[in-house]
C-alpha cells in the first residue's frame, strides 16, 4: 500500500488519472454521472498538474519535467478542467435537444479523458518517439469526437482531419527517425539518442544536413497539427463540426501541444549552427498563416469556423515569434500561447452558448445578442476584444511585446505582422458588431450552460494583461532563454 | 596464326547468328502453334521459306524509287553487323572493341529508319501507316533502351558490350534490384522492337492491327526474303543481348581454348533456345494491345529503366 502511494507522484498522477478514467467513463451508462466523473477526473489531474509546480524537476529516459513543459502541463490541465465543467452543462443541453444520445456520450467522455491523458504524455515525454505517440493518440481521440454528430458535414470534417492528421503525423515520424539517426553516431544506439535533454545538449556534434532534412519533415508534420497555413485545411472543419467543448480544447490545447513539439525540435536545431535557418522558415510560415487567415476571416458565415481561422492566425503569430527567437520574442511567444489558450477557449464557450440559444452557427442568423442575452453578449464581446488584441487583455501585451522586439530586427516582416494583426482586428470587430447589435434574431430562450468557465478565463487573461506575477515572469524568462 | 584464329572466331560469330536465326524463328512458331493446339510447321520451315522467296520474282510498284530496292539489303546489313558485334559465345573477339551498346542502338535505328523510308516510298496507305506506327513505337522504346544501357553501364563502368559481359562473368555484382529492373525494361523494349505480341503480331495481316507487317506489305521475292531474314536476325540479336548482359555465364572470356569455346557455344545455344521457347509462352498469355495503350506499356519500361538508374545512384553514389 505504501509502495503504491509512493508511486503516486504528481507526475504519475497526471498520466494515470486520465488513463484510469477512460475505462470507468466507458462503462458508466448514466450521462450525468459520466459528466461528473469527467469533471472530477479533470480536477484531480489539475491538482496533480499544480502540485507538479512544487515537485522537484526530474528526468528519466522516458519522462522529463523541466521549466518548459511544466507550465504547459499546468495550462493544459487547467483548461481541460474548465472545459470539462463547461462541457458537463453544455452536453446536457445537447441531449435535451436530441443531437446526441447517451450512448455517444459515454464514448465522448472516455475520448475526452483519452485526449487529456495523451496530451499530458506528449508534454512530459523525454523521448521524441513517446511524444509522437502522445500527439498521435490525442489526434485520434479528437477525430472520434469531431465526427460524433454523424451529420455529413461532421463526417467530412472528421475524415479530412483524420487523413491530413495521419499524413502529418507520419511525416513527423520520419523526421523523428532522422533526428535519431543524426543523434545515434554521437549518443550511441538506444534510448539516450531520443531523449530531449541529451539531444539538445549534444546537437552541436550532430550531422547538420541530417538535422536540416529532419526539421523539414517535422515542420510539415507538426505544422499540420498546429494548423499552419498551407497545411491547415482540416482545422476550420474540425472546429466547426465537432461539439463546442472539443473546439475549445482543440484550439486551446492541441495546437499548443503540437507547437510545443515543434519548439522542442527547434531547441535541438538551435544548438547546431550549421543547420538551415530554422527561424526564418518558421517566421515565413507564421506570417503566411497570419495573413491568409486574416483575409479568410472576412468571408466566414459560420461563427465557429470564423474563430477556427482566428486560431490559425494566432498560431501563426506565435510561430513567427518563436521563429524570430531571442529572449523577448520567445517570451512574447510563450505569453501568446498561454493567452490564446485562455481567451480562445473562453470564446468557444461563449460561441457554444450562443449556438445553443440561437440554434444555429450561421452568423447571418445571429444578431442583437446585446438585447436578447446581455450577460452572454458582454462575455462574448470581452472575448472578441481580447482575441483581437486590444488592451488591457494579455493578448495585447504579448502582441505589443512581439512587435516591439521584432521591429528593430526584421522591419519588413514586422510590417507584415502588423498588417495581419490589423486585418484580423478589423474582421473581428465587424463580426462582433453584427452579432451583438442590430435587429434581434432567433429565439430568446435562457442560457442553460454555466457562464463560470468563460468569465474565469477572461478574468485570468485580463489579470495577465495588467500584471504578471513575478515568479511567472522569471519562469518565462528561463524558458525563453532555453528556446534560443 | 593467332591472327588467323581470331579472324576465324569472329567469322564463326558472324555466321552463327545468321544461320541460327531462322531456326529460332522456327522454334518460336512451333512452340506457339503447339500452345494453340496446332501441329505447326517444321522447325526448318523458315529456311525453306527464305529459299523459296529467293527464287521468286520480285514485283515492284511502278513508282518505286531506288530507295525501295536498296532498303531491304541495307536494313539486313545494318542488323547483321549489329548482331555480329554482340558477344555470343565468347568475349574479346577481333571486332569486339566496336561493340558499343550505344552504337548498337544506332545501327538498329538506322535499319528501322531505312525500312520506314521504304514503307513510305510507294505511297500506299498501308506503308504509310505502318511506318508511322513503327516510328511511334521506336520513339517510345528508345528512351527506355538508353536508360537500360545507362543502368548496365553504371554497374560495369563501360558501354562496351564485350567488357560488360567479361565483368559480369568474372566479378560478382550481387543481387542487384537495378539489374532486375533493367532486364524487365529491356524485355519490354525487345518485345516492342521485334514486333511481338502485345505490341504487334508478326503473324497477322489484319489491316487495323498490323504495324511492322503493314510497313513491308508491298515487298515480295528476294526483297521480302531479306526483310524476313533481317527480322529473324534481329530477334536473335535481342536474345543474344539478354544473354550477354544479364546471363553471361559460360562465355569464353580470356581463355580461348577449344573446350572453353565449345562450352561457350553450347551455353549460348541453350540460352537462346530457352528464350525462343519462353517468348511464345509469354505471347500466348497476353492479348494484343490497342495502339493507344503503347505509351503505357513502354512507359512502364521507361519507368523501370529510370528506377534502375536511380537505384544505382543510391548505392554507388555520384
Amino acid at each position: 500500500m505504501m509502495a503504491l502511494l509512493s508511486a503516486l507522484t504528481p507526475l504519475n498522477a497526471v498520466l494515470l488519472v486520465p488513463a484510469l478514467a477512460i475505462p470507468v467513463l466507458a462503462l458508466v451508462g448514466n450521462y450525468r454521472a459520466g459528466a461528473i466523473i469527467n469533471v472530477i477526473a479533470c480536477a484531480l489531474t489539475l491538482a496533480a498538474g499544480l502540485s507538479l509546480l512544487f515537485a522537484p524537476r526530474l528526468r528519466t529516459d522516458l519522462l522529463i519535467i523541466d521549466d518548459f513543459n511544466i507550465y504547459l502541463v499546468t495550462l493544459t490541465t487547467f483548461v481541460g478542467f474548465t472545459t470539462s465543467v463547461f462541457s458537463a452543462t453544455y452536453i446536457a443541453h445537447e441531449i435535451e435537444i436530441g443531437r446526441l444520445t447517451p450512448k455517444y456520450l459515454r464514448f465522448y467522455h472516455a475520448m475526452y479523458q483519452a485526449m487529456m491523458g495523451s496530451m499530458n504524455v506528449a508534454l512530459v515525454a523525454n523521448n521524441t518517439g513517446l511524444m509522437w505517440v502522445g500527439v498521435e493518440v490525442a489526434t485520434l481521440s479528437t477525430v472520434m469526437m469531431v465526427g460524433i454528430y454523424r451529420t455529413p458535414e461532421a463526417i467530412e470534417a472528421a475524415w479530412k482531419y483524420f487523413i491530413l492528421g495521419s499524413v502529418g503525423i507520419a511525416l513527423a515520424f520520419f523526421g523523428t527517425i532522422l533526428v535519431y539517426l543524426a543523434a545515434q553516431d554521437v549518443l550511441g544506439e538506444g534510448l539516450p539518442a531520443m531523449a530531449w535533454d541529451a539531444l539538445a545538449a549534444n546537437s552541436a556534434k550532430f550531422d547538420a544536413r541530417l538535422l536540416s532534412l529532419a526539421f523539414v519533415f517535422l515542420l510539415v508534420g507538426y505544422g499540420t497539427k498546429i494548423g499552419l497555413a498551407p497545411f491547415h485545411a482540416w482545422l476550420p472543419d474540425a472546429h466547426a463540426e465537432g461539439p463546442t467543448p472539443i473546439s475549445a480544447v482543440l484550439s486551446g490545447l492541441l495546437l499548443n501541444v503540437a507547437l510545443y513539439a515543434l519548439l522542442r525540435f527547434k531547441m535541438v536545431m538551435a544548438g547546431n549552427q550549421a543547420t538551415l535557418d530554422v527561424g526564418a522558415v518558421m517566421m515565413a510560415l507564421g506570417l503566411v498563416s497570419l495573413v491568409f487567415a486574416g483575409f479568410m476571416l472576412y468571408r466566414r458565415r459560420d461563427i465557429k469556423r470564423m474563430f477556427a481561422y482566428s486560431s490559425i492566425e494566432h498560431m501563426g503569430i506565435a510561430t513567427f515569434a518563436f521563429g524570430l527567437g531571442g529572449p523577448l520574442a520567445n517570451f512574447a511567444g510563450l505569453l501568446h500561447m498561454t493567452m490564446h489558450s485562455l481567451v480562445k477557449s473562453a470564446i468557444f464557450f461563449a460561441v457554444g452558448h450562443i449556438a445553443q440559444v440561437k440554434g444555429t452557427q450561421r452568423l447571418a442568423d445571429i444578431g442583437g445578442l446585446s438585447v436578447t442575452h446581455p450577460v452572454l453578449a458582454i462575455g462574448f464581446a470581452l472575448g472578441v476584444i481580447a482575441i483581437a488584441g486590444m488592451p488591457p487583455f494579455g493578448v495585447f501585451a504579448s502582441e505589443f511585446m512581439m512587435v516591439s522586439s521584432a521591429f528593430p530586427r526584421a522591419p519588413y516582416a514586422t510590417l507584415v505582422l502588423v498588417f495581419g494583426i490589423v486585418l484580423s482586428f478589423g474582421a473581428m470587430v465587424l463580426r462582433m458588431q453584427e452579432v451583438l447589435f442590430g435587429e434581434p434574431k432567433g429565439p430568446r430562450g435562457p442560457v442553460k450552460a454555466s457562464y463560470v468557465p468563460m468569465f474565469f478565463h477572461l478574468a485570468l487573461a485580463l489579470v495577465a494583461g495588467l500584471w504578471l506575477p513575478e515568479p511567472v515572469v522569471r519562469w518565462f524568462r528561463v524558458v525563453a532563454a532555453q528556446l534560443g | 596464326m593467332a591472327m588467323m584464329l581470331e579472324i576465324a572466331l569472329q567469322g564463326v560469330q558472324m555466321f552463327l547468328v545468321v544461320l541460327v536465326a531462322p531456326l529460332m524463328f522456327g522454334v518460336t512458331r512451333k512452340v506457339k502453334a503447339r500452345l494453340l493446339r496446332r501441329i505447326g510447321p517444321p522447325l526448318i520451315q523458315p529456311y525453306r521459306d527464305l529459299w523459296k522467296l529467293m527464287h521468286k520474282e520480285a514485283v515492284l510498284a511502278h513508282n518505286a524509287s531506288w530507295v525501295y530496292r536498296v532498303a531491304p539489303y541495307a536494313a539486313f546489313a545494318a542488323i547483321w553487323v549489329a548482331a555480329a558485334l554482340v558477344p555470343t559465345f565468347a568475349t574479346d573477339l577481333l571486332f569486339s572493341w566496336s561493340a558499343d551498346l550505344i552504337a548498337l542502338v544506332a545501327l538498329l535505328g538506322c535499319a528501322r529508319f531505312i525500312l520506314a523510308l521504304a514503307g513510305m516510298d510507294v505511297g500506299t496507305a498501308f506503308g504509310g501507316i505502318g511506318a508511322s506506327r513503327e516510328m511511334m513505337i521506336a520513339s517510345l522504346a528508345e528512351p527506355a533502351m538508353l536508360l537500360v544501357a545507362f543502368a548496365v553501364a553504371l554497374v560495369a563502368g563501360t558501354t562496351q558490350l564485350s567488357t560488360i559481359a567479361a565483368i559480369f562473368v568474372n566479378v560478382p555484382v550481387g543481387l542487384r534490384v537495378s539489374l532486375g529492373l533493367a532486364l524487365f525494361a529491356f524485355v519490354f523494349v525487345a518485345i516492342a522492337e521485334n514486333a511481338r505480341v502485345p505490341i504487334d503480331n508478326p503473324a497477322t495481316h489484319l489491316e487495323l492491327t498490323m504495324v511492322h507487317e503493314a510497313m513491308v506489305l508491298e515487298y515480295s521475292g528476294r526483297h521480302l526474303a531479306m526483310i524476313e531474314a533481317a527480322a529473324a536476325v534481329k530477334l536473335v540479336l535481342y536474345f543474344s543481348l539478354v544473354a550477354c548482359l544479364f546471363f553471361p555465364f559460360g562465355m569464353a572470356t580470356t581463355e580461348k581454348s577449344a573446350l572453353a569455346i565449345a562450352l561457350g557455344l553450347a551455353t549460348y545455344l541453350a540460352k537462346i533456345l530457352v528464350m525462343a521457347v519462353l517468348l511464345p509462352i509469354g505471347e500466348t498469355s497476353v492479348a494484343k494491345m490497342r495502339v493507344f495503350r503503347y505509351p503505357v506499356f513502354l512507359g512502364g519500361a521507361f519507368a523501370a529503366g529510370a528506377l534502375a538508374v536511380f537505384l544505382l545512384f543510391v548505392s554507388k553514389g555520384f
Partner: protein
Amino acid sequence: MSPLAFDIAHLLAGGMLVLSFLLLYQDRITAVLNVFALQAIALSLSVAWQAVVQDAPHLIVTALIALVVKGLIIPGALHRIVRRLEIHREVEQVIGGGPTMLTGLGLVALSILLVQPVKQDVGILTREDLAFALAVILLGLLMMITRRNAVTQIVGFMSLENGLVLAATGARGMPLVVEFSVAFSILVAFIVFGVFLFRIRERFDSVDVGALDRFRGERRDQR
C-alpha cells in the same frame, strides 16, 4: 557486413520501392490491394532480414505484425469493403497515369538527392534504406493526392507507412520500433474501421471522397 547481407537488404528494400511504383501503375482497385499486400510482405521480409543482420530479435515482432496485419488482414478487409460496396471498377485518378509516373520518378530522384549528401558514416545500408524509405513515403503521398477513392487513399497512406517502418527498422538500434509499428497498426486499423464507421458509402452513395467536397467551406443546409 557481408556483401550478401547487403545485397539481400538492398533487394528487399528496392523491391518495396518497385512495388510502390506498381501501386501507382495499377488501374483496378483489386489489383491495387493485391500489390499492396505484396508490398507488405516485402516489408516484413525486409524487417526480418534487418532483425537477422542487426541481431535484433525484437524486430521479428514488427515483421510479423507487418505480415499478418498489413499483408493479410487489412487487404482482406479492404477486399471485403470493395466487394460489399461494389467499387471494384477502375481507380479514379485526378492526374493521368503518365504524368503520375513521371512525377513519381521525380520524387524518387528528389529523395535520392536529399539523402545522398548525408554523412557517409551512418553506413551504406542505413543510407540506402533511408533513400528507399523516403521514396516510398513520397510515392505514398503522391498516391493519396492523385486518387479520389477513399480505399485507394487508405492504401496510399498504408504504403506511406510501410516506408516509415522501413526507415525505422533501417535505423540501427532505434528504440521503441516495435511499439511504433503497433501504434501505426492501430492508426491504420482505425482508418480502415473509419470507412465502416463513417459509412461514407451510405451517406454519399460512393466512397469517392470528391462527394465530400459538396460540403466544403460553409454549411449550406441548416438544421
